[in-house]
Symmetry: C2
Subunit: 223 residues, 2 copies
DNA sequence: ATTATAATTTAGAGTATTATAACAAAGATG
DNA sequence: CATCTTTGTTATAATACTCTAAATTATAAT
C-alpha cells in the first residue's frame, strides 16, 4: 500500500514536469530521474497500475487526482524540510536540496507537523517556492523572470531555481535572496547582460542567471 | 561501496546482540530483524563478503573491525537523532526510536555535525544510552539493574531500555528519567515488587519494569 | 551409539528496480 | 508519400532483499 521511495520520486518528477497540462514524455522523465528510458517505460506501467497516473504508450503520462495528491505531499515535505534545514540548522541554501530529497521519504507526519509549527506555518521554502498546504492547496504566485525586466524597472526577488547548487551559491553571493528589492540599471544588447542594483551594490549578470531568478512587484520608475 | 540501509541495520543488530564477546546466532538476528532465518543466512554470507563480519556456518557471526566501526557510526547517528527529536522538536521520548531508525540512514555528516553542535556535543541519548564519538569512542558506563537494589538503597537512574515504546511511556509517567534520584522503600518477597520513591511520589513496580531500568551512584543509607 | 529435537542452511521463487540490445512507432524531410 | 531520424517499447538480464519448504547439521536425551 505504502508507495515506495522510487514511486514517490517518479510521481513528484511527473508533477513538476507537467507544469501546465501537457503530457510528460518518457525521455524527459528519464533525464530528470537519471535512468534509462526503458526503465521509465516499465515504471510508467506500474504507476498506471497503482492508479497514480494515466499512461498511454507512445503518448506520455499524466497524473491522476491520487497521483497529484501524492506529488503535492512530497513537495510539501521537501520544501518544509529545506526551510527547516536552513532556518533551524543553518545549512547553506545551496546544500539543502539533496538532503531534503532523502528526508522527504522518511519523516513521519508527526515530526513534519512539529517542523511546520516551529517554522510558524511558512508559505515559502528558502528558494521562494510555495509550500503546499496539508490539503494540497498552493499559495498563488505571479512572477516574471528577471530576464524579462527592462532598464529602470524595480522589483522584488520572488523565487530562485534550486536545482543547480553552484548557481544557487553564486546567486546567494550576489545577495539575490527572496524578498530582496532590486533595480535594473541597464540591459546590454546582443548578449542581454543585465546590470542590477541590490542594495548599495551593482552586479552584472548573464542570461542564464537572469532566467533562473523570478521577480514580483514590478514598478517602472524613471523614463 | 556505500553500504545499503539493510546492511547497516544488520551490522548494527549484530553489534547490539554481541554484547560481550559471544558470536551472534542466526535465530537471534532473525528475531530482531523480523525476517525469516533463511534470509539471515544469505545476508550473513554477504556481510562476510563485504568484510563487515566473520561468518562460520552453524557457528554464528561476529563483526570485524570494519563492521564495528560501521555499527558504532550508525548507533551514533541513531542516538544523536533521538536526542535531537526530543530536545529540538519536543517529540515524546517513546516515539523517537522508529523515527531515528529511518533517519539514521539518510542524514549527511554535515547535518549530523550541526545537530551535534546544537545539542552541545552530548554524551547520552534521551534514554541514557551513551552516544559513540566520531572516532568510535564510547563513554564508559557502570550501571546496575534497578531490580538488583535492596531496600533502603538510594541511586540515580542512568538508562532505560528503549525498545518497547509502551513501556517507555509507562516509565516516563512514573518520572523515572535518566538523572532522577530514587530510593528503594521496599522489595516484596516472591514476586519481587519494588516500592520506589521518586521525588515526593512512591510507586510500586514489577520485575519486568525493574529489570528495564539501570541505575548508578548507589548509596546504602539506613539499616 | 542411536534417536529425537531444534537450529540452520540450501533450493527454488517472487518483488522491486535497474540496465542493454533489438524492434516499433511517430515525426520530419525532400 | 517513401525514407530517415528520433523517440519509445519489448525482451532479457542483473542486483538486492525477501519468502516457504525441504534437506542438513548440531545438540540433547535416551
Ligand atoms: Mn529542493
Ligand atoms: Mn527549494
Ligand atoms: Mn532507539
Ligand atoms: Mn535510545
Amino acid at each position: 500500500m505504502e508507495p515506495t521511495q522510487t514511486v514517490e520520486d517518479y510521481v513528484r518528477a511527473i508533477y513538476q514536469l507537467q507544469e501546465g497540462a501537457e503530457d510528460v514524455s518518457t525521455s524527459a522523465l528519464a533525464e530528470v530521474m537519471k535512468v534509462a528510458p526503458a526503465t521509465v517505460t516499465s515504471m510508467l506501467k506500474k504507476l498506471d497500475q497503482l492508479g497514480y497516473a494515466v499512461y498511454t504508450p507512445y503518448q506520455g503520462v499524466s497524473l491522476t487526482e491520487s497521483g497529484r495528491r501524492l506529488a503535492l505531499n512530497i513537495v510539501r515535505r521537501h520544501r518544509l524540510v529545506e526551510l527547516y534545514l536552513v532556518q533551524a540548522l543553518e545549512i547553506p541554501w545551496d546544500r539543502v536540496h539533496e538532503e531534503a530529497h532523502r528526508w522527504e521519504h522518511v519523516i513521519s507526519d508527526e515530526v513534519l507537523a512539529k517542523m511546520d509549527e516551529v517554522l510558524g506555518h511558512p508559505e515559502r521554502d528558502p528558494h521562494g517556492a510555495p509550500i503546499p498546504g496539508e490539503n494540497g492547496s498552493l499559495p498563488a504566485t505571479s512572477t516574471v523572470r528577471l530576464s524579462a525586466l527592462r532598464s529602470g524597472q524595480r522589483a522584488v526577488v520572488a523565487e530562485v531555481a534550486d536545482n543547480v547548487p553552484e548557481m544557487l551559491r553564486y546567486i546567494g553571493n550576489l545577495g539575490l535572496y527572496p524578498d530582496v528589492a532590486i533595480e535594473i540599471i541597464a540591459v546590454a544588447p546582443f548578449d542581454g547582460l543585465v546590470t542590477v542594483r541590490v542594495g548599495e551594490r551593482q552586479h552584472i549578470i548573464g542570461q542564464r542567471i537572469a532566467r533562473s531568478i523570478f521577480v514580483k512587484d514590478i514598478i517602472s520608475t524613471e523614463e
